[in-house]
């Protein structure tokens, strides 16, 4: 039983259990990320008429592990003109929040590994904003023009889309009457999944989260054909691996958040809760890969105006609609 919803104060015992929970989340996330990258390459390959990785291990299953190992043993290069301390700090600053947000995700009815806090949703949104600083610092500290442009774009983009993202989930919070993610899942367990009454919110969330994750068509910060690699152009070896990990842990976390808020979390008939959760998470991730395969990249100025002129008014409208609906029903 990994649920501390009842524990009102910290004791040695549940403190230790929390530590174990943290390790489990870390390993789980790393495992999921490893095979998300593998799945991405396989799915992209399948959609593009290629084979994808198939050399290392059966069906190429060891490919990502080999890639990560390769990054880990590479020479650690810090550019001479870079701002050394900021350059070293940036990947950590980007990476840590991406893991921390996973602590509030209810993986199943009985699996909340570390924190079942009453403001789980707010906690997620607030922490994920810290990553922007890592990205911005990385772009600034590299002392590279492409990295600088990439970092600036990234900051502008993530800030702009944080707002509609936060607004779109407010509808769900209103529906459940709580910011606790477990309560939100429970409210869907007994009634409709939020995707039905909150369809507009779901659409906004989907777009805003894609932008928040810097994925196609919103992958401007690392627009390969323009900025080459954007903010992490000067990073190599395991620091680069940290940025990559951040990206994919966020993909996992955002998928988990989407599943929790809109797709009923772990609830579902017949199958065990954790499996339902995994299916929903993978559906979101697959959707992202699918989009990545289909869409060109949107332009920076269009990106901004789309966020402020379309998504934000829509999400505000959604909140009003939900509030009125809640009052009447």
């Amino acid at each position: 039983m990994w649920n501390w919803s009842g524990a009102s104060h910290l004791t040695w015992l549940n403190g230790l259990a929390m530590l174990i929970g943290t390790v489990i989340v870390l390993l789980l996330a790393l495992g999921v990320v490893t095979y998300t990258i593998y799945a991405q390459r396989k799915i992209l390959g399948w959609m593009q008429g290629r084979i994808g990785p198939n050399r290392l291990g059966p069906f190429g299953l060891m490919q990502t592990i080999a890639d990560i190992l390769k990054l880990l043993i590479k020479e650690d290069i810090i550019p001479e003109k870079a701002d050394r301390s900021l350059f070293l700090l940036a990947p950590i600053l980007a990476f840590v929040p991406s893991f921390m947000v996973l602590s509030v995700i209810p993986f199943s009815r009985t699996h909340v590994f570390t924190a079942n806090i009453s403001i789980g949703l707010l906690f997620y949104i607030a922490l994920s904003a810290i990553t922007i600083h890592g990205v911005m610092l990385g772009g600034w500290a590299s002392n590279n023009k492409y990295a600088l442009i990439g970092g600036m774009r990234s900051a502008a983009q993530m800030l702009s889309y944080e707002v509609p993202l936060g607004m779109s989930v407010l509808g769900v919070a209103l529906m459940a009457g709580s910011l606790n993610l477990n309560t939100i899942v429970m409210s869907q367990h007994t009634g409709w999944w939020n995707i039905v009454p909150q369809f507009l919110g779901f659409c906004i969330f989907l777009v805003a989260s894609t932008a928040e994750l810097n994925r196609t068509p919103f992958d401007l910060p690392e627009a390969e054909s323009e900025l080459i690699a954007g903010y992490h152009i000067e990073y190599s070896g395991f620091r680069m691996a940290f940025f990559m990990l951040t990206e994919y842990v966020y993909l996992f976390a955002m998928a988990a958040l989407c599943a929790t808020l809109f797709l009923g979390g772990w609830s579902g008939p017949f199958l065990p809760g954790w499996l339902w959760f995994a299916i929903k998470v993978f559906a979101f991730i697959f959707f992202q890969f699918w989009i990545q395969n289909t869409m060109p990249r949107i332009r920076a100025d269009h990106l901004m105006s789309f966020s402020w002129k379309v998504l934000l008014p829509l999400s505000l409208f959604n909140i009003v609609l939900t509030a009125v609906f809640k009052t009447i029903v």
Partner: protein
């Protein structure tokens, strides 16, 4: 008031950014020195010559037949057309008669080459704009064309297929049937690309009204090919100055209206359809037998004088200008390279644009660095 004072006192600086020579979107080794203020381009200066091999100078020490493989390496994605451009100039100088079968083989290979080249142009353009898949898809169709060329002349990229007076190899048995089967296949695929790309809102927002120039500008800069036709100016050498046997085929010259990047993209798609039409007719009319190489003297000696002839290459007017002293080697050879000429407009187009548009505009001008630098 205080706000404007503050805004004026903030020191801003222009930044010089080197795009290339190693940059994924410059289609080869091309460097663009861009002066930017924020993300707005103030000035752009192309730096070329990283792929310069001195083809024109080398040609002065080569016999005419020996120059043909060098033309393969100009615009390396449309080698057949380059081959033809040189052979055509020499043939015109010699006033040679080309056998029917050779003419048809030339037309078929050249138009298939145009399809292959345009496919690559569209695919890499979409890759520049951030769409990954079309680039990989186009290679599948291009592969079929390349395989057919491989069967015809044993090479996949640098064909060295045309000769003065005809072509080197006759089509192997069943080759024409392969071409015939390819046409409906390619039409289906073109429909697929149309569905995938043309209606995409993001794509449209990135190319509509971007990089606009008008006919006067285009003519003043000497543009040709799709870059000129996108402004609505009807100029296709296959129609205007028919060479080979192009006057036997029924095809249209698609024209643009606005002269923007979208028009240049859509013209690529429409020209592929027209090329397929030409190939279809050529396959129907293909003579069942006959020689593929005309009566050519053992040593090709171009009579003394100056000769120029241009053909409609994939990227514009591709011409060879030969000055001969009556020997077996040219005294001087000058190549009118469409990519090189089209590139001149780039600094003009980029002024005042954003960095994101840079890639969209550069991609639509559609250069091949092998040709620009020659």
């Amino acid at each position: 008031m205080a706000l404007t004072d503050e805004a004026q006192s903030i020191r801003t600086e222009e930044m010089i950014l080197n795009v290339g020579p190693q940059h994924p979107s410059t289609h080869g080794v091309f460097r663009l020195v861009v002066k930017i203020s924020g993300e707005t381009i103030i000035e752009a200066e192309p730096v070329i010559g990283y792929l310069h091999r001195g083809t024109e100078k080398l040609a002065e020490d080569l016999q005419y037949t020996q120059i043909i493989p060098y033309t393969d390496r100009l615009d390396y994605v449309s080698a057949m057309i380059n081959n033809y451009a040189l052979c055509h100039t020499v043939e015109r100088a010699l006033d040679l008669e080309i056998p029917e079968r050779a003419e048809y083989l030339r037309i078929i290979t050249m138009e298939l080459q145009r399809v292959a080249s345009h496919l690559l142009a569209v695919g890499s353009y979409l890759l520049d704009l951030g769409a990954m898949s079309p680039f990989l898809y186009v290679f599948q169709e291009r592969e079929r064309i390349v395989q057919m060329f491989n069967e015809l002349c044993g090479a996949r990229l640098t064909y060295n297929y045309m000769r003065v007076g005809g072509v080197k190899w006759d089509a192997p048995p069943g080759w024409i049937d392969q071409v015939r089967d390819f046409i409906p296949f390619m039409r289906k695929k073109l429909k697929m690309y149309d569905d995938l790309i043309t209606g995409n809102e993001i794509f449209l927002s990135r190319v509509r009204g971007i990089g606009v120039f008008n006919t006067e500008t285009a003519l003043a800069y000497g543009l040709s090919g799709i870059n000129l036709r996108s402004t609505g100016f009807d100029w296709d050498l296959r129609k205007k100055k028919p060479y080979s046997i192009y006057n036997r085929f029924d095809f249209e010259v698609p024209l643009g209206k606005n002269g923007d990047c979208f028009d240049r993209y859509i013209l690529h798609m429409q020209e592929m359809e027209q090329s397929l039409r030409i190939v279809e007719q050529a396959v129907e009319q293909f003579p069942s037998s006959g020689p593929v190489l005309g009566k050519v003297p053992k040593m090709v000696r171009v009579p003394a004088g100056e000769y120029y002839s241009g053909i409609e290459g994939t990227r514009g007017e591709l011409g060879f200008y030969i000055v001969s002293e009556g020997k077996d080697k040219p005294y001087r050879m000058k190549i009118r390279k469409p990519s090189f000429v089209n590139l001149q407009l780039l600094p003009e187009l980029l002024k005042g644009q954003s960095m994101a548009n840079l890639i969209a505009i550069l991609g639509a001008v559609d250069i091949v660095l092998g040709e620009v630098d020659a």
